[in-house]
């Protein structure tokens, strides 16, 4: 059984990027914390913010909304933002919401932090 504990959020620098790695389900209980970390990371000028979803087995529309908010905020402030590491299941919900061409999804973490 996968670990379905409450969301834990890792944070590290990798070159010019800040990589945010939630671990757990990004649902209504976890999305607010992810949003807080995203806004905090983005408040720093010149960084690229990368969300690595490889530790996220499940996401619902509250998680999608959090990612869209981050994307829009990045656009507004001319910052950079990328998402990577989507599991099959998370990819499916991104597609269901027709966000697969809108969210800046990159193939791998290596590409994302470039």
């Amino acid at each position: 059984m996968a670990d379905h504990s409450a969301l834990q959020i890792g944070l590290r620098r990798q070159g010019r990027a800040v990589v945010i790695s939630p671990k757990g389900d990004v649902d209504l209980t976890g999305s607010p914390a992810l949003g807080v970390e995203l806004r905090r990371a983005m408040s720093e000028a010149g960084v690229k913010v990368v969300v690595d979803l490889s530790g996220v087995p499940y996401m619902d529309s509250s998680g999608l909304a959090t990612l869209i908010a981050a994307m829009l905020a990045a656009k507004k402030s001319h910052g950079e933002f990328a998402v990577c590491g989507l599991s099959e299941r998370v990819r499916t919900i991104v597609q269901l919401a027709k966000l697969d061409r809108i969210l800046p999804i990159v193939a791998s973490l290596e590409d994302a932090v470039k």
Binding site: H4, D25, D27, L28, T29, Y58, D60, S61, S62, L64, A65, T66, I68, A69, L72, R89, T92, I93, L96, A97, K98, I102
Partner: protein, 177 residues
């Protein structure tokens, strides 16, 4: 139509219960023979629907009731338990659980929250890119039927149906005994 649900769940409107409800829905639908994808979809739809009751119906109050009823239309396999308990007696192979006669799963979610016009519960234009407004769209995408209505007394009722397509019998199809 059989009007006693196979499973009825009453929870309080605390988002901490979302994951448990999702997993319940995932596992019982899987045992009823739905494909993994369909089970994920149904658990997602239930999650989205309950989130909406919590956020819109109950304004995020965490202690109000929500009822979730699951109906397996067409019935459900009854595993052959003979031989269970392991007393060494001969027993036929249990129905694998994946090959139930279930034709569709019906999920009914009810609350005591404020009543709204069902027509106002709808998806927005997705071309307008903004956070939020995705839940109802997702529910309609993954379920075959979606109907919101006012309950007689108070609160709302959401009925969602997912058909089980025949080639989606998953798991093994072992011979019986």
């Amino acid at each position: 139509m059989n009007d006693q649900p196979h499973i009825q769940l009453q929870i309080r409107s605390n988002p901490l219960f979302l994951s448990g409800v999702r997993e319940l829905v995932y596992h019982v639908s899987h045992r009823a023979g739905f494909s993994e994808t369909c089970c994920h979809q149904m658990s997602l739809a239930v999650d989205e629907a309950i989130c909406n009751v919590i956020r819109h119906g109950y304004d995020r109050a965490a202690d109000r009731p929500i009822w979730i009823s699951l109906y397996f239309d067409g019935g459900l396999a009854e595993p052959d338990l003979s031989g269970a308990g392991g007393n060494g007696s001969a027993g036929s192979l249990a129905v694998s659980g994946a090959a139930g006669p279930t034709k569709a799963m019906r999920i009914v979610i009810e609350d005591e929250a404020r009543q709204v016009d069902p027509a106002t519960i709808r998806s927005r234009d997705l071309d307008d890119i903004r956070p939020g407004g995705l839940g109802v769209h997702i529910i309609h995408e993954v379920m075959d039927e979606v109907r919101y209505e006012r309950r007689d007394s108070r609160g709302m009722r959401l009925t969602m149906v997912k058909q089980r397509r025949s080639p989606e019998v998953c798991g093994t199809e072992d011979a019986h005994g």
